[in-house]
Amino acid sequence: MVWYPRMNLDRINIREAMTCAVLGAGGAVVFQFVFPGGAISTLMHQVLHLPGPGAGIAVIIGPFAIMIATIACFLKPGAGRAFIASLTFVLMQILLSKLLVGSSNSKGMLGSPLFIAAVSIMGLMMELSLILTRKLGPVWRSIIAGSSANVALLVFCWTVIFPRTNGWIQLGSIPILMGLCLVFGLFFGYLGWLISRPLSKVLAPQQYKE
């Protein structure tokens, strides 16, 4: 009674795309509710004393976006789901940041066009990983896609975004942040798959096989 979805290059229809978009937007609302402005930075650097920049991306923002994208991917087979969910997640983040002034990230990076590109690349990396690992079981696929997508997001932020805002990452900080990035990426990928199982029965019952 286990559903093993196989990712293929089937086109998704408008309704499925809308489902992914709603998931991404809803995820952004939950994220904004759970992590008010300044909380991530305080937790990462004042409490956990992690080096930066990129700790918040590797441990909280990236894994959360990955969880949303993984849920969208495993609801039904079909390419493009992770990309749509990631894109709507980041666009809704911008909208909420504009509406709720003061609750956005203090660096202002969350609403920038470069961050849209970063999260889109993360979604594309997840799509690519799911296609390349389509012969594996869903657990392996979710954790491989989650960790690889989180690494792609962090590397993009390190090389493109942070040099413009905070400066380059120090070489000594890379191992610990990369390790955290991998661990949190795979855990939240797996968590997304776990959440997608009951949701797939509600949102896509025809795909659930006995």
Binding site: G38, T42, H45, N166, L194
Partner: protein, 89 residues
């Protein structure tokens, strides 16, 4: 490093994460229990009315009955002599 420390925001964040996690765990437990009940209902044994199936599998009686009823149904009925002395075909 990335902005001023805001411990009030962190406290709010931790409270909301705890609330959300509790709600998620509760929902997932409910889903698990519902799935288990559904699975148990589907796999409950059904009472078979067929006497052949109620016999021990492989017993002589069951094998004999199966053979007689499926392969040679005429063996169950007595063969009667025709009035002319010939056996019915």
């Amino acid at each position: 490093m990335c902005g001023p420390a805001d411990f009030d925001a962190l406290q709010t964040c931790i409270t909301r994460v705890a609330e959300l996690s509790a709600a998620g765990l509760g929902s997932y437990t409910l889903y698990g229990v519902t799935s288990l009940v559904h699975k148990l209902r589907q796999s409950s044994p059904t009472v078979l009315a067929d006497p052949l199936r109620s016999m021990p599998l492989g017993s002589d009686a069951s094998v004999l009955l199966v053979l007689e009823s499926t392969c040679h149904p005429e063996a169950l009925t007595p063969i009667q002599e025709a009035p002319g002395g010939s056996r019915p075909t």
